[in-house]
Amino acid sequence: MKITRDQVEHIAHLARLEFSEKEIEAFTRQMDNILTYFDKLKEVDTTSVEPTSHAIQVKNVFRDDEVKKSIALDLSLKNAPEKEGNFFRVPKIIE
């Protein structure tokens, strides 16, 4: 096995997802299949090959630090599932 049930549960926590027992089993099996397939990459010699994170050369893009028009407060809160005054409302974080 490439991946265990415990690992799948740990990854789920990192990804802020939760699954039923049945789903955990299915995911473990499917991820195991997919990861086994990925082993194919071990065949390739990548000694001293630079990784590609972007297909085209990207460099830092700078601009002047000017104040520009941004999205208005009421609009930025428009899609909030819950709000209070000018704030996004979330469950209590500090006891």
Partner: protein, 492 residues
Amino acid sequence: MNREKDIMDLHTLTIHEAHEHLKNRDFSARELTQALLKRIEEVEPKVKAYLTVTSEKALKEAAQADKMIAAGEITPLTGIPLAIKDILCTEGITTTCGSKILKNFVPVYDATVVRNLKRAGAITLGKANMDEFAMGSSTENSAFGPSHNPWDLSAIPGGSSGGSASAVAADECIASLGTDTGGSIRQPASCCGIVGLKPTYGRVSRFGLVAFGSSLDQVGPLTKDVRDAALLMNILAGYDPQDSTSVNKEVPDYTTFLKPDLKGITIGVAREYFIEGIDPEVEKAVKEALHVLQDLGAKTVDIALPHTEYALPVYYLIAPAEASSNLARYDGVKYGFRTGKDENLIAMYKKTRSEGFGAEVKRRIMLGTYALSAGYYDAYYGKASQVRTLIRRDFEEAFKKCDVIVTPTAPTPAFKIGEKTDDPLQMYLSDIFTIPVNLAGIAGISLPCGLAQNRLPIGLQVIAGPFEEEKVLQTAFAYEQNTDWHVQKPKL
């Protein structure tokens, strides 16, 4: 001309045909838009290409377009009704990305490509269905149900831009916009017998495109013919200060490269794209297409793309890794779906995300989180990024010997709805010929090159180097002008 007959068939027109008529005042943008809305009413219950149809807004935009035309300010897109993939932000129009988690999300701004189309006077008919967050090859991962292939309603239209493709093939719009991360424009174009172009990474702005794989995503056109793809590229391409990965490079008039022959063009043919498992009808159609291209004056050479077989595992590590990071923003706080409000914050995140995302999205978030997690990064994401370099170099070497590369777009014609939903790896194989183009960041087009015995379309892919969209358009146009696959229509 027979005006009455033409008005009956307005929905079948291409962009350039409709433009000529609008310019000559044969009909108004309003009449054209009404014809399309009527067509949608008639066939949409069967095809299910749209998630939202914005009839009223479309008619208002048509009135605006008619004013532009009356004022002599017509552009090639003025008054042309389009469908927009539901991954592109449209101000005031729900943008779901095919996901329950964004079911009620109404953007407060337009994507740059949408804004540019509006400026040109184009009309938005509505938002097209897609696989959730563009993850899929069939639209079966849409939280709102699959779209259907107009050629065979029991078949998939391809994906993830399946709604955009089926809307064009069913004449429910004149053309549409899609996005392509691993084949999501080209594979559905192939399945639906239309033209779909994925531009070079950086050619088109991604501002307002809901992010999936940020180093791979590009917006592009799905159209009834190659000239229309060139016309849309004239509007879509260009630098956008709001997308720092867009490239500040001059945009040519793509229509100037549409010539009837291919003298002086060298076409590369890679044996790695004619593998075991490819449908014999697809192989035959593509080989016949190569003969047509030779007859038009092109020379063919054998080329090698030796790392092709590794493209699929590389993609399914890199794209999910990027997705797992991009989709972290759906936490039930700022926008979108939320549940579990009485719990603590972490529990609320988990409930919201677990209920809001579908199975394939969760699978890819899990894969990506794993590939990036401590102890596995080097073995998975790191290794994949190195092999990506080798795939890119394969293309660089190949383009020293040829101008374009011709391949099948997909290994098979469209499969049946439900046929591959239980086996993610089988589904992933649909994109085996399109994925390398995204990994290398280069340009590719799919255009129709045949019909299988079951009357499902077959697609031809033409690939060129970075910022050489004109070469894929030139090759595709010459082929199209000498064949008649693009004028074949499904019977609906």
